[in-house]
């Protein structure tokens, strides 16, 4: 029971710093779950990350899988609830305030600031996660190729995921 409570409290605390969504949070989540709380080992975390990326659905699914690993179906629900409730309550009350700002420059300032912050967090997250879960030159090459191709071509992300799966299946990664 105490592990459920700790899962709930620790993930709830992360919810309010998740600027840029759950993806920006992944390294912190990894550090918490793998190094501090020993809920899960690094390999399983990376595998869950891969499953969440490949499956259709929102990107908080890594958190749901982590909850599953800790405490089955109840853990999955508790983890998802924990990552979502603080920010949900925040935006419930903030949205009217923010939509009500009439001065367009004020509104834009807030949006620009949040965007810049989110970019920094998301890029840092990608870097730190890559250091943890990419093993070997081939994995980094695949990551870099994905970045290059998605930036310059408008392919659907699913193609890259399939490509990664095929390369992995034949033992290249």
């Amino acid at each position: 029971m105490s592990i459920l409570l700790s899962l709930f409290l620790k993930l709830s605390a992360l919810s309010l710093v998740a600027f840029g969504g759950v993806n920006a949070l992944l390294p912190v989540l990894l550090n918490l779950a793998v190094n501090q709380e020993h809920w899960i080992d690094l390999q399983t975390f990376s595998d869950y990350f891969a499953i969440a990326q490949a499956a259709p659905g929102p990107n908080f699914m890594t958190v749901t899988l982590l909850g599953w690993h800790v405490y089955g179906a109840i853990g999955a629900c508790v983890a998802t609830l924990a990552i979502a409730w603080p920010s949900s309550i925040l935006i419930f009350y903030l949205q009217r305030l923010l939509l009500g700002i009439k001065d367009p420059q004020k509104k834009q300032s807030i949006q620009y600031a949040a965007a810049a912050l989110a970019i920094g967090l998301v890029l840092s997250s990608a870097w730190q996660i890559a250091l943890q879960i990419n093993h070997g030159v081939a994995a980094y090459a695949l990551t870099l190729a994905t970045i290059a191709f998605t930036l310059f071509m408008r392919w659907h992300p699913l193609y890259f995921i399939v490509l990664g799966a095929v390369l992995g299946l034949f033992g290249f990664i």
């Binding site: 390294p27 891969a50 179906a73 834009q108 620009y112 840092s124 994995a139 990551t143």
Partner: protein, 162 residues
């Protein structure tokens, strides 16, 4: 549930183009807000859209509708994982996908970064954020507290310049 590669494009298609619940401008305005506030973006979106039509109850209902499906799907996948993760081929597939997944996350960051070059001073915010996290290893809460005053100041100047 049909949200391969994120649910946002799909949410837009359903809410704006098919069901005409929101106009395109309303959707963009709401999405803008959801990206300001921390937390899972798609849950934030569900809270905003749901509460618009039925207050707190609507917000709760739309969050539940959005999360229950993925939770069930994920548990199904987790069971599959428990059965097959010992296979070398499964391990290889997951390694390949996670390398791509990291690239996809980085690429969303870089795509947003392109817009910042129109006002290069904002890049300072991005650089400081990355240094604070990757080099000085500060906690996320601290980074947000330290960087946001500068971010707001520069954003204010950017908005007044345009």
């Amino acid at each position: 549930m049909s949200g391969f590669g994120g649910v946002l494009p799909w949410a837009r298609r359903t809410l704006v183009e098919r069901d005409k619940i929101l106009t395109s401008e309303e959707f963009s305005a709401i999405l803008g807000i959801c990206q300001i506030v921390p937390g899972p973006n798609i849950v934030n979106l569900a809270v905003c859209v749901g509460s618009r039509f039925a207050g707190a109850k609507g917000a709760f209902a739309s969050v539940m509708g959005l999360t229950l499906g993925p939770i069930c799907l994920v548990m199904f996948l987790a069971v599959l994982y428990d059965h097959y993760s010992y296979l070398d081929s499964a391990k290889g597939i997951l390694r390949g996908i996670s390398a791509v997944g990291v690239g996809l996350i980085a690429s969303t960051g870089f795509k947003m970064l392109r817009d910042e070059f129109r006002y290069p001073a904002m890049l300072l915010v991005v650089i400081i954020t990355i240094l604070a996290i990757c080099y000085f290893h500060l906690g996320l809460g601290w980074v947000v507290l330290i960087v946001s005053p500068l971010a707001l100041f520069l954003a204010w100047k950017k908005a007044h310049k345009a």
